[in-house]
């Protein structure tokens, strides 16, 4: 964790419907001060006597005038409670939690793949990359969802000047299909737009699969946020094109601060040993090559 998290009682500044989601702005000044893209917050839900004991964790979608933005889908009782709050409501927030997205090499192209509201932290990441001087065209966003109302950040991405690739499962917007259908084109665009002087020096280690016409040229790094099956599929397509993928996972957490051990994923360390790492404090972003996908019960149909 880059900065110590704080626990704050904060005011809900605004809440706005956005497609199938709600955008919340919290007056969480202490959290906003050190938050970086890729980090998350944990909110308590239901009030002091709530029967819902566990906090709900959400990626930070941006910083706004001393506050933080969250994009929330009403999925269960807790998130529904949050989306029904009115401005002025007091909320208990802990953050920033987890580590930020690993920095993209300055000369690499960047492909950001967001499934549904998983796009939210990636949009903030794109905004920061561009604000720090990266050409917007080197940032390619793939935004996918089940249907048009579940897409997030499309207008925001276009306003940034980044490349935008849209997919929907039902074909109601963009390419009909999964995000993986658009990933090769996004990789190609990012590679085309990346600064040419970054071509690896002769003799330097080539990326896996490099040498083909498709993967020759500047490196491209992929960042993906969404359901586990999507992360796996994206990382496989990216690997076929010689690009590594950083996966921001959303495992369910009981505490968010590293105590409860419920949010673990099997991760292979540099020493080759697979360990159940906490996605809250050791993540939530992992190198796809380190994730032991075949040992994740939700992907393999469960262990029972």
């Amino acid at each position: 964790m880059s900065e110590r998290p704080v626990q704050q009682r904060v005011r809900l500044r605004s809440i706005t419907p956005e497609g199938a989601y709600h955008r919340l702005v919290l007056d969480a000044g202490q959290v906003a001060r050190t938050a970086q893209p890729g980090q998350f917050v944990a909110l308590s839900v239901g009030g002091a006597d709530s029967a819902m004991l566990l906090r709900r964790c959400f990626s930070i979608a941006g910083r706004r005038e001393g506050g933080i933005e969250l994009l929330i889908a009403a999925r269960g009782k807790g998130s529904t409670w949050l989306t029904q709050r009115r401005p002025g409501t007091s909320l208990d927030v802990i953050g920033p939690l987890g580590g930020p997205f690993p920095p993209a090499p300055r000369r690499a192209g960047v492909v950001l793949v967001g499934g549904g509201y998983g796009a939210a932290p990636l949009l903030w990441f794109a905004e920061e990359l561009i604000a720090r001087g990266r050409a917007a065209s080197t940032v390619q966003l793939v935004l996918g969802a089940a249907s048009q109302d579940r897409l997030a950040g499309v207008e925001q991405a276009r306003a940034l000047g980044a490349g935008v690739h849209v997919t929907t499962d039902d074909g109601s917007a963009g390419i009909a299909g999964r995000v993986t259908a658009a990933v090769p084109a996004a990789l190609a665009a990012a590679r085309r737009e990346a600064p040419r002087e970054s071509r690896p020096a002769p003799g330097s280690a080539p990326a896996a699969g490099s040498g083909s016409a498709e993967t020759a040229g500047p490196p491209v790094e992929v960042y993906a946020c969404g359901p586990m099956a999507m992360l796996r599929a994206v990382s496989e397509v990216a690997a076929e094109h010689g690009s590594p993928t950083w996966c921001a996972v959303e495992e369910s957490m009981a505490c968010g601060v590293g105590v409860c051990m419920t949010c673990v994923l099997p991760i292979r360390g540099a020493d080759g040993v697979v360990r159940n790492l906490r996605t809250c404090t050791d993540g939530p972003t992992f190198d796809a090559r380190a994730i032991v996908w075949d040992q994740i019960p939700s992907l393999t149909g469960g262990s029972r």
Partner: protein, 329 residues
Amino acid sequence: MSAGERAEGTAGEVSGVDMTTHLGTLELPNPVLTASGCSAAGRELDPFLDVAGLGAVVTKSIARAARPGRATPRMAETPSGMLNSIGLQGPGIEAFLAKDVPWLRERGARAVVSIAGGDAAEFAELAGRLAELGPEGGISALEVNISCPNVANRGLVFACDPAASTQVIAGVVEVVAGRLPVLAKLSPDVTDIVEIARACLDAGADGLAMINTTLGMVIDTDTLRPVLAGITGGLSGPAIRPIAVRCIYQVHAAMRAGALRPAPIVGIGGVRTGLDALQLVAAGACAVQVGTATFNDPSAPERVLGELRHALAERGFARFVDAIGRAHD
């Protein structure tokens, strides 16, 4: 509000109550502890509270070797509670001694170390290692977790069988040889908890910690399959508080009646507020652990301490110890 602000606010208002308590030979400045499995080894809670200000930090159960724990999903939220099936994931005793104990010492926290073994020999080995360090080495007491429901063979929860409890506790007590207080952690999933308490005390335990989680289960109504990969899990949180109060009351009543050797009881189960803690104390607990509430509010142990002190002052208590077992008067 920061943890610091909170601590000042509560201390200033009601400084008059002496919160000192004892677990056998161990004196604690106050009776509020973290609960095993709900505070790791303290470090993760450091941003939210002062670990040295608590009665003690009770660490997650430590075993001889590193354990990977169970598959996911490991957790399900339930009304006013949660089910967990972690399977005692942990780094093993060596890493614990190398990394966690020095940190707790440096912070000035009192450490009650929870130990978990697959058999009596493993418990005794772990107890021996920790007793060797002793209070000077940063260990204040041992909590012997004979009641974890998430072990490989669920038929063998030691604390469900008096003979198995006796065997484990006797082995630990022998090797510790009085160097540390030994607490036996009991399961509520028994017909007669007084019988198990007696087995542990007769085997030489200095005190009892009760209760561990109670075994539960949740089924996903879409898939019609159990939610947890481990199928069953331990239920914790305010939902089980009445069970904890009942268990503590029964055991303390048996002590008062002369049916059981008097010994300190550390109350555990669903404490979220100072008044919750007071219920366990009035039932007979001389200290209280805050567990699952910490997931909701990582500063909960410190907050509960302030609220308990306030509640005692409001009720005219000058000393915490005078409230212990008051429900029996």
